[in-house]
């Protein structure tokens, strides 16, 4: 399969829309006095991370695209470029996004790339643009391989991936409360995604959806936004710097330091790369599961409520 098919680079074309929407959200917050918070250095860091993400795509995009074109050469299937095929590709790519995103929270190697998106203590439209510079190094492009082998052209797969990213932009806001019930049931919304950005024990590691929240409901990772528990945004251990270089690379540095400690077994070194964030060889740190268990132990009335486990038998 060597035919040349081109699709518009929708993310770059959406840049003016991103800027206009940020200005509109900011003015809304300033005029209304509610609906979110902005802070200069936080927003600046997010915007620089977004620009760096575009730059890294220009510099390193050939790696993933080369891999996809190689797969396209060997697959005997070509589903064409009809509207129905593009629609199907969009849905399947969103399923792909769900799993890549879930891996991004549960495998430290992938989290090292994704963590910067969660590193703001704010939640506004600039947070949506706080994107990774190091996605290529996670090798998560392999999760797209089945789509190419099934006969979806690589350009189409990247096109629908871009649409997915653009969809997710508008859900990074506190200015919108809840959407209509039918929409909240099917689609990812500001409410569902606020929960995903929470550092509250209840809200850790849930709502991985990109466009369709139904994936979380199918795979058991959905947690609703609870009126009685306001979302606290950021990381379990918040950063003490706005330096974009440190924001982009801090978890990679952390992995390197952990995995190269003297006296560890090779299994422990590997586990520092592939186990969930918070794993440690001596149990001195907490994973999200341990944080949730501890939270329930200290607040037994919260046991078995959304996002939290049953009461443990013994002190975690």
């Amino acid at each position: 399969m060597t035919d040349m098919i081109t699709f518009p680079d929708v993310v770059n074309w959406a840049v003016p829309l991103f800027i206009a929407a940020i200005l509109a959200e900011l003015l809304w917050i300033v005029i209304k006095g509610h609906g979110g918070r902005y802070e200069t250095r936080d927003a600046l860091t997010s915007l620089i991370m977004g620009a760096g993400n575009v730059a890294s795509g220009i510099l390193l995009g050939f790696v993933a695209y080369g891999f996809f074109m190689l797969l396209w050469e060997i697959t005997p299937v070509d589903l064409g470029t009809s509207i129905a095929v593009i629609g199907l590709c969009f849905v399947l790519d969103d399923l792909r996004y769900y799993w890549v995103h879930r891996f991004g929270h549960r495998i430290r190697w992938v989290w090292a790339s994704h963590v910067n998106h969660h590193s703001s203590q704010h939640y506004n439209l600039t947070t949506a643009l706080r994107q990774t510079w190091t996605g290529t190094f996670t090798f998560m492009m392999v999760v797209r391989a089945p789509l190419i082998l099934l006969g979806f052209h690589p350009a189409m797969v990247l096109f629908v991936g871009g649409l997915n990213l653009i969809y997710q932009f508008w859900i990074h806001t506190e200015a919108i409360g809840k959407m209509p019930r039918w929409f909240e049931a099917v689609m990812n919304t500001p409410s569902h995604h606020r929960v995903h950005h929470g550092r509250n024990p209840r809200y850790l590691d849930c709502n991985y959806a990109g466009v369709f929240i139904v994936w979380d409901k199918i795979f058991g990772t959905f947690v609703p936004e609870m009126q009685e528990e306001k979302v606290d945004y950021g990381l379990v251990h918040n950063l003490g710097t706005f330096n974009p270089i440190r924001v982009a690379f801090h978890e990679w540095v952390g992995i390197f330091r952990d995995a190269t400690q003297p006296g560890l077994t090779w299994r422990a070194r590997l586990n520092y790369c592939i186990m969930p964030p918070g794993w440690s060889h001596d149990g001195s740190r907490e994973t999200s599961s341990a944080i949730k268990a501890r939270h329930v132990f200290r607040n037994p009335d919260l046991a078995d409520t959304p996002g939290l486990p049953p009461l443990p038998d013994h002190k975690p």
């Binding site: 770059n12 840049v15 900011l26 200069t40 915007l47 575009v54 706005f242």
Partner: protein, 130 residues
């Protein structure tokens, strides 16, 4: 989109938003209203290590924390706060207070604005930690 359009648009867009935010007064740093606020900010980062003693600095921009685990500091991160233990920290006097260098890639340097008496007291306290 051609790079010749994308690049200037991104640079000017980022600059315009940053200037606008600053002009709207959204560059103000968080202040810790009292010792209880400092304690809450510490517990937000270290929920299992309650402060035994909180020393809030005079301008309420930071607090020195003593807990069972050791000493730590709470300081503003823009409009929010964060906290770190001071294990391995080095303190240097500056014209406005203290500069703390931490062996932590995510919080390498903390600038504290302290009055001269506070600076001496905090430096003494930090010597015990290092």
């Amino acid at each position: 989109m051609p790079l010749s359009i994308l690049l200037p648009m991104v640079v000017m867009g980022i600059a315009a938003i940053a200037v606008l935010l600053h002009l709207l007064g959204l560059s103000r740093q968080a202040t810790l209203t009292n010792a209880e606020a400092a304690r809450a900010a510490w517990l937000r980062e270290f929920p299992t290590d309650a402060p035994i003693h909180v020393t809030l600095c005079a301008n309420r921009s930071a607090a020195l924390i003593a807990s069972e685990t050791g000493r730590g500091v709470v300081w503003p991160m823009g409009a929010d706060t964060t906290a770190r233990y001071l294990t391995g920290a080095r303190a240097r006097r500056t014209k406005t207070g203290l500069r703390l260098d931490l062996p932590d890639y995510t919080a390498p340097r903390i600038h504290l604005t302290l009055d001269p008496d506070e600076t001496a007291a905090w430096q003494d306290a930090l010597k015990e930690t290092a």
